[in-house]
């Protein structure tokens, strides 16, 4: 009987310790954010990556198994900016238990239509990860979200985030140095869909997208004709397909304009092979663009 308080204290301490060591279950609906959470969370997180590399996030719909995982998660991360039309379903599945981090909603947006787009088109671009500055901000948001869930591991998350931020800073230097090889009057990007507004703003490009913000948009014949005209008038050397897209319309544009296909860009998240990491994806995209346009 005398040992009962000691026993109780022991079991309470053990429970607290175990809780602190228990991994944070995270559901991620973005390949880019999956990498960020894993980098910042390290061994403190167990991430369910619902969207795999190469899957089009514009067309993804969560299945019952996805919603079940969300129900058990402590943190749910999404790109936001209407990229995921199913956030409501996720919130319902979470039942108010998980922290929802809608990363893109925290950034200043690039509004308005892009060059080559008919009047009235445009809107919020959800592809915020094509700006390294946005990736740095996303890293801090993830760090703060994890620290809020496990305050006792705050220092660990801060250290991990610091390392990842350093990698991003080095990547930014490389990107600027590589882009410096491309004259500024040749920075014209013709892509399958309107996914590079943040990249364009950051690095002085003008974007001529075939489709709109979503890869599900279909271009009108007037839009295609306007793009062909723009490619000719602007002297654009090359156009770019995407790893997820059907390249038929771009093939028509190259046939009619004389431009060539400069390569494949990763627009909607990470891919496979060299593009399986954020750094690999950015290096691939930037190298492909510079070598094709200079």
């Amino acid at each position: 009987m005398k040992t009962l308080p000691l026993n109780l204290a022991f079991w309470a301490a053990l429970t607290l310790a175990l809780g602190a060591q228990e991994t944070i279950r995270v559901s991620s609906f973005s390949t880019v954010l999956t990498e960020v959470v894993q980098a910042v969370g390290g061994r403190a997180v167990e991430v369910t990556a619902h969207i795999k590399p190469g899957v089009d996030p514009h067309e993804f719909e969560p299945r019952p198994a996805d919603l079940k995982a969300v129900g058990a998660a402590e943190l749910v991360v999404v790109s936001a900016l209407h990229l995921e039309g199913y956030v409501g379903k996720l919130q319902q599945a979470a039942g108010g238990k998980a922290v929802f981090l809608q990363v893109g909603g925290q950034f200043a947006l690039t509004p308005g239509p892009q060059a080559g787009a008919p009047a009235g088109e445009g809107g919020e671009d959800p592809h915020w990860w094509h700006s390294i500055a946005n990736m740095e901000a996303a890293t801090r948001l993830v760090r703060d979200a994890l620290s809020g869930i496990r305050p006792e591991r705050r220092e660990e998350f801060a250290a991990n985030a610091g390392q990842y931020l350093e990698k991003l800073a080095q990547l930014e230097k490389w990107v600027r140095k590589k882009l410096a090889e491309l004259p500024r009057n040749k920075r014209k990007l013709v892509t399958s869909h309107d996914a590079f507004q943040y990249f364009a703003r950051e690095y002085g490009f003008t974007v001529y997208p075939v489709e709109g913000i979503s890869s599900a948009d279909q271009p009108s014949s007037q839009r295609v004709a306007a793009l062909i005209r723009a490619v000719r008038e602007q002297g654009v050397k090359a156009v770019f397909t995407e790893n997820i897209e059907n390249p038929k319309v771009l093939a028509e544009i190259t046939r009619e304009s004389g431009a060539v296909v400069g390569g494949v860009l990763y627009a909607d998240g990470l891919g496979e092979g060299e593009a399986a990491t954020y750094e690999g994806m950015m290096r691939h995209n930037v190298s492909t663009i510079v070598e094709a346009l200079k």
Binding site: K177, L179, P183, R184, N185, G204, R232
Partner: protein, 141 residues
């Protein structure tokens, strides 16, 4: 039904034939296909003279300025102020210059100010900071 069905049919055929005449002319064999004009490859922006001045807070061991991946100016030796006239392509969109500097050990946090007079004579200024070594890209409008 009023009128002759045969007459109506002949009339309809004539109208269709007349409407189809321009189409036939366009698609008959022997018409050369329209050739696309092809992409108008932009002429490289003409080389123009710009004046670039570098002022260092501490004398560098060496420095280099690159434009489009090529070294356009390099220097070393004593002194904190350097100036040169460069002949580079300068489109209306501006230029990126890559700057690399190496300072002597112990120089601490140091700076280099770049002052550029563009082909129109407008003055632009940028300052870069580094400790030991610096590699960065500056954009001039």
């Amino acid at each position: 039904m009023r009128g002759s069905p045969l007459l109506r049919a002949v009339l309809a055929f004539l109208i269709l034939a007349l409407a189809g005449l321009p189409l036939w002319r366009l698609t008959r064999p022997g018409n050369p296909p329209q050739k696309s004009a092809g992409a108008a490859v932009p002429a490289a922006a003409a080389r123009q003279r710009v004046a670039l001045a570098l002022t260092f807070s501490a004398a560098p061991q060496g420095f280099a300025v690159r434009h489009l991946g090529q070294v356009v100016w390099s220097g070393q030796g004593a002194g904190r102020e350097f100036a040169k006239e460069l002949s580079i392509e300068y489109p209306p969109e501006g230029v990126d210059l890559e700057v690399a500097v190496e300072w002597p050990e112990g120089a601490g946090q140091s700076a280099v100010r770049l002052q550029l007079a563009d082909p129109a004579g407008r003055q632009h200024e940028k300052t870069l900071w580094g400790a030991g070594k610096l590699e960065d890209v500056v954009t001039f409008p």
